[in-house]
């Protein structure tokens, strides 16, 4: 393990988090006229309001407020949600697993099919199948996820009746076995997973394809070819492992973004995740919750980037033995 690389990446992540926090500070504290309104719902008992103000250092000069803010954020204290009257972190924690479940299933689907189709396209470069897959990838980029979700609901839910239309489980499900419960959630998960998975699938095909094409031009592939190995064998044994390098980075990064990207999908399917929570916070002007869910989604991206760097360190020998 390369310690210097590791610490450097940690340092970079911390700097990025600080920048994110600063931007959010500007967004939520400096931009609105009265920053107090971001913490205290108007109409609250003046005594309570004064207490909250003191807790978040709202009486201090702005630069000191900034430090109090950073300190609170580092300790996971984003204030109390107006609409739920509970700590913001608790509210978000409640919802996060639902988003992660959806996001990870969608990722798994997109990665598997992205790699398969990317490889197929690269292996048949320039042929009809390649052009076809490329066009599909471009087309997918152009489809808004929420619209695709609506179309899937109409086809599979309304017309065919194969899938439930909304939510994460059948409402009012009571007194059932764990198995039934899991089955129910899985059933509700299918179409949202496909919707969200498809939204990222296109870019995976493109990246896998181009990364494989890069590898194909390398000398060792030519050598292997000269040795008379079969094409399939070369792709599987030589080309794929190397082409996976850039994929890993892209995948890790997009895992971070998918939490945020799930907003549309969650809305269409009324999936009880962080995305719908953020939208709710927005319409209810629940600023502490809004800021909290905004920061959490940003941190997810930073964390994912960091993990990508670490994975990269393990699989890319050039970094490990540097």
């Amino acid at each position: 393990m390369n310690f210097r690389y590791f610490t450097k990446k940690i340092f970079q992540s911390i700097i990025t988090i600080l920048i994110v926090l600063t931007i959010s500070f500007i967004l939520f504290r400096v931009m609105p006229g009265d920053p107090t309104s971001m913490f205290v719902k108007s109409g609250v008992d003046p005594e309570v309001a004064a207490q909250i103000k003191a807790n978040y250092g709202l009486n201090l000069p702005i630069y000191q407020q900034y430090f109090v803010y950073i300190k609170n954020a580092m300790m996971g204290d984003f204030g109390t949600s107006f609409s739920f009257k509970k700590p913001v972190m608790e509210v978000i924690w409640n919802r996060l697993p639902n988003t992660l479940l959806l996001a990870l299933c969608a990722q798994a689907l997109a990665i598997a099919f992205g790699i398969i189709f990317g490889t197929v396209a690269a292996a048949h470069r320039g042929k009809k199948i390649d052009v076809g897959l490329l066009s599909i990838a471009l087309l997918i980029y152009a489809i808004p996820a929420f619209w695709f979700g609506m179309v899937l609901i109409v086809i599979f839910g309304v017309k065919l009746g194969w899938a439930p239309l909304f939510g994460m489980m059948t409402p009012g499900l009571r007194n059932v076995s764990t198995f039934t419960y899991i089955k129910d959630v899985a059933h509700h998960l299918i179409i949202p997973t496909i919707t969200l998975g498809l939204a990222i699938f296109g870019s995976y095909v493109m990246i896998m394809r181009s990364s494989l094409l890069d590898v194909f031009t390398e000398d060792y592939i030519n050598t292997a070819r000269a040795k008379g190995f079969s094409r399939k064998y070369i792709i599987r044994k030589h080309a794929l492992p190397n082409a996976m390098l850039p994929m890993v980075t892209v995948i890790a990064t997009s895992i971070g973004f998918i939490v945020a990207g799930a907003i549309q999908t969650e809305t269409v399917f009324t999936w009880p995740g962080v995305g719908t929570l953020l939208l709710k916070a927005l319409t209810a002007r629940d600023y502490p919750l809004l800021q909290g869910s905004f920061l959490i989604t940003s941190f997810a991206v930073v964390a994912a980037n960091f993990i990508a760097d670490i994975i990269y360190m393990y699989i890319d020998p050039r970094i490990r033995y540097e």
Binding site: R125, A142, V151
Partner: protein
């Protein structure tokens, strides 16, 4: 006299070189089937956006013009929405909104990205690292939530939506332009220009900008596509102006008013297809631009 003739000659030569380049470029572009199709589609959308509203009147407050939630008929070829408004009109008039939002937002974000990228790449040093850290910070901010938060704080109308999408979408361009600027900076003729006392601004404007311009241009087209998508998502989530006409607004209406569960496909299929086609045509154009201008991609 002779001097000025000489200058004219140089200008003429320059012009000819440019013309030749342009011709070569257009030939390559129109030799590319995808690019040609995309270009024609963009033109078509422009015609719809700027001629359509003149010949086909529509307004968001034309409620009760037809029956409610009626499927396509000869009078309303795309059917009507839940308030009896003509959906075909909404698509036609929404085209303009999409194009305006797309181009204006892309213009803003590309300008910011280019300036930051150029300055960072060319001046370099500590300035570069500060700017790039900032860009990194902006990059990890999830875009849709950021846009949502900003539009909530600023209020939702078309102008704010443009500003918000514009001010959040520049990071990619900044990185791209910076890396281009970095590589160009090392070229001998920049050294030469510097040695004869050319200022930073002059070099940036005269030598670097023209060289990164193709990249910027291709990027603008792709940024337009993503701005159009961003506007649609924002309106769909109910954060648009209820009185403005846009495709995202139509989709929001369809979603909120239960078109999905009663299977009123005409309420959301045309608007969705319109978004897909418009974004697709921009992507086609941008993609083939990239292919021609970005030598690394050539031959793939």
């Amino acid at each position: 006299m002779e001097n000025s003739n000489h200058k004219k000659q140089i200008k003429k030569d320059k012009f000819e070189v440019r013309l030749r380049n342009f011709k070569r470029f257009t030939k390559a572009f129109f030799g590319n089937r995808i690019g040609t199709i995309g270009f024609l589609m963009v033109i078509l959308f422009f015609v719809i956006a700027f001629v359509g509203p003149k010949v086909y009147p529509y307004s968001t407050i034309d409620v009760g013009k037809g029956p409610m939630m009626a499927p396509p008929s000869s009078e309303f070829i795309f059917g009507t929405d839940h308030l009896g408004r003509d959906l075909f009109g909404a698509i036609i008039h929404g085209t303009k909104t999409s194009l305006i939002v797309g181009f204006s937002a892309a213009f803003i974000s590309i300008s910011i990205g280019t300036i930051i990228g150029l300055v960072a790449g060319f001046i370099g040093g500590r300035f570069d690292s500060i700017l790039m850290r900032f860009t990194d910070g902006m990059m990890v901010l999830p875009k849709l939530p950021l846009i949502m938060v900003l539009s909530a704080l600023l209020g939702t109308n078309i102008r704010n939506i443009i500003l918000v999408i514009g001010f959040t979408g520049w990071t990619g361009t900044a990185r791209l332009v910076r890396s281009q600027a970095l590589s160009i900076r090392e070229r001998p003729y920049i050294e030469r220009a510097k040695s004869i006392g050319a200022g930073n601004f002059y070099i940036m404007y005269k030598h670097i900008l023209p060289n990164v311009f193709p990249v910027i241009f291709a990027n603008t087209i792709l940024a337009t596509a993503s701005a159009i998508l961003a506007e649609a998502s924002l309106s769909f989530l109910g954060l648009g102006d209820p009185l403005s006409v846009s495709w995202g607004q139509v989709l929001n209406g369809a979603f909120v008013n239960g078109a999905v569960s009663i299977g009123a496909w005409w309420y959301f299929v045309p608007a969705g297809v319109a978004i897909i086609l418009l974004v697709l045509s921009f992507t086609f154009v941008g993609y083939s631009f990239d292919e021609i201008l970005n030598p690394k991609l050539r031959g793939r």
